[in-house]
């Protein structure tokens, strides 16, 4: 369960996030949708605790991301945008490194790493060094690494960027599996169709503000647009009209 309550974040003069609030409940997939530079990544970075909000609060399963950031991180699996691997380590070693850092039981680590490798279908290249991996291979390993400690909350920043159709499909299947297991999945994207295909709730962000936070049908109704892309554009114009 992720709660975001009116957070603000500025970088110098740029006011990137201006009072974003939403909730991402367990057992549901929540999409953070918005154009480039809308403040999606900044919001997610606050949630996985690498940035501190200037104002407002956010919590992961009740643990405040600033006050109790270690506890918050325990329940997060995060895939930052453009997450990098260690090129001299094999995919398996990369994943095992994170398993160790998450303090998994030593005796469990090998099994856990093998099962996550099977889940993400990366057995073929699991024992190769990650130098020279394709974007899709890298994303899968980074995702396996983020999920190795079986976190309750999964935060994915534009996970389908640079993935081909097959890889995107398998990622979608995985996200649905996580949902069925009762996890809270929060992911960002700038592609409406992708979000529509997966999400139960969509939070549309533009200009650092929440334009609409609703289900797909709710968004269609409130914007008066049947076509999703038109609905997306209409929602963004709502905010930008105010600005």
């Amino acid at each position: 369960m992720i709660k975001v309550d009116r957070i603000h974040k500025s970088f110098g003069k740029v006011h990137a996030v201006r009072g974003v609030s939403f909730e991402a409940p367990d057992g549901k997939i929540t999409g953070l949708l918005g154009p480039n530079g809308a403040g999606k990544s900044t919001t997610l970075r606050v949630l996985y605790t690498v940035l501190k909000p200037d104002q407002g609060h956010a919590s992961i399963d009740g643990a405040d991301v600033v006050e109790d950031s270690l506890a918050a991180r325990k329940n997060i699996g995060a895939l930052p945008h453009g997450a990098g691997l260690y090129p001299h380590l094999t995919a398996r070693e990369n994943i095992a490194y994170y398993a160790n850092l998450c303090a998994l039981d030593k005796s469990e680590i090998d099994d856990r790493v093998s099962s996550i490798i099977a889940l993400l279908e990366i057995e073929d290249f699991a024992d190769r060094r990650t130098k020279g991996f394709s974007q899709g291979q890298r994303t899968k390993v980074a995702l396996a690494r983020a999920l190795v400690h079986d976190p309750q909350n999964v935060i994915l920043d534009e996970p389908t960027n640079g993935l081909d159709v097959m890889a995107t499909r398998s990622l979608r299947r995985l996200i649905l599996k996580l949902k069925d297991a009762g996890r809270c999945v929060l992911f960002s994207s700038h592609v409406m169709q992708e979000v529509a295909a997966l999400c139960d709730d969509i939070c549309i962000i533009a200009n650092g503000q929440v334009a609409i936070d609703d289900s797909i049908d709710g968004i269609r109704q409130r914007t008066g647009q049947d076509d999703l892309e038109e609905a997306f554009v209409a929602a963004i114009q709502l905010v930008e009209g105010e600005a």
Binding site: R45, Y48, T49, V50, L51, K52, L70, A71, R73, K74, I76, A78, L79, P80, G82, A83, G84, L85, Y86, P87, H88, L89, E93, Y97, Y98, N100, L101, C102, A103, R129, A142, R145, A146, H149
Partner: protein
Amino acid sequence: MRTFLTVFFKEILDNLRDRRTLTSALIMGPIFGPVLFAFVINMSIDRALDDAESSMELPVVGQQYAPNLMRFLESRNIDIIEGPDDPDGAADAVKTGVHDVVLVVPEAFGEQLSDTIPARVELYSDEANSQGEKEARRARNALYAYNQQLASIRLSARGINPRVLSPINVDEIDVSTPSGRSAILLGMMSYFFIFALLMGGMYLAIDTTAGERERGSLEPLLSLPVTRGQLILGKILAACVFMAASLLLSLMSFYVVLKFMPLEQLGMTPNFGLPVVALAFLLLLPFILLGASLMTLVASFTKSYKEAQTWLSAVLIAPTLPILVVSILTLRPQIEFMFVPSLSQHLILVDMVKNEPLNGLHIAISVCSTLAIGALLTWVCARLYRREGLLG
């Protein structure tokens, strides 16, 4: 504790597989010093032997006017060769570097000599050319000796004891010991150890800060349920291990090089046996923490791998500065110097190589102050690692 060890072992494994880190830590640092050193020592030995034994060639214009002088010069191992045609040619030959030094004997030489008028010869040389300066000195000394000899003969012929010309006899006594003389040349050795030590950890320091950021692996790492302090400590310790390995290799390679150098020919017997190697290693160990944390600190301010490399090259040179100042001013070890890292290690190492009694207080201050500064820098690194700016 487990986090710390996990990071530590991962960094060791990662960097053992990185050819660039290995080259700089285990080859570049440890080999560069001894090779340069062997080269310099060999050159000094060659030149030292040159002075004493080898014959030198002296082009002379107007040999026919001073046959006795020519014979005298040849008896001093100076080979007379045909010089340029005239005195003007002599100056040109020296200017253009055809000859380093040219002796010109004017036609009137014999006549002036027999009339007991000071007979004039001209010695052309280029004082700006160190090799030429050496040859000119040798020619000049030979001419003075001939002058001396003729004067003695003239005095004797007039019934005067030639010794009246030498009222004072200066006897120079060099009190330096063979180990002491080595210290002058081996003084630069301590810098090579510090250089090798820093090289050993340089790429780790970059990799753990600017490298992780550039690769995009820092953000996921920081989103794990671990404290940042443990991450940075594990990384700094891994850098320390590489630095220690680099230092040890560097000490050992110096030990081997010195064994095979004919240093006795330069009148040097450096005290650099295995016990001194071990002591030097222990003495430099505290510097490792300082070096690792300093490099990590500098690298964490940089925006990219390239920028970090540029700045860390400056860090490689920084430890020479205090050594250089003290060498130029030829200051003797004082207690205040022991608070300055790199300088204190240098001064104590020089004493070790000179085989002089070691000052326990000096060593204690050196070890403690270096460790304290290292610990302080490590703490600053840990603080910095908590900044958001770290993400760039």
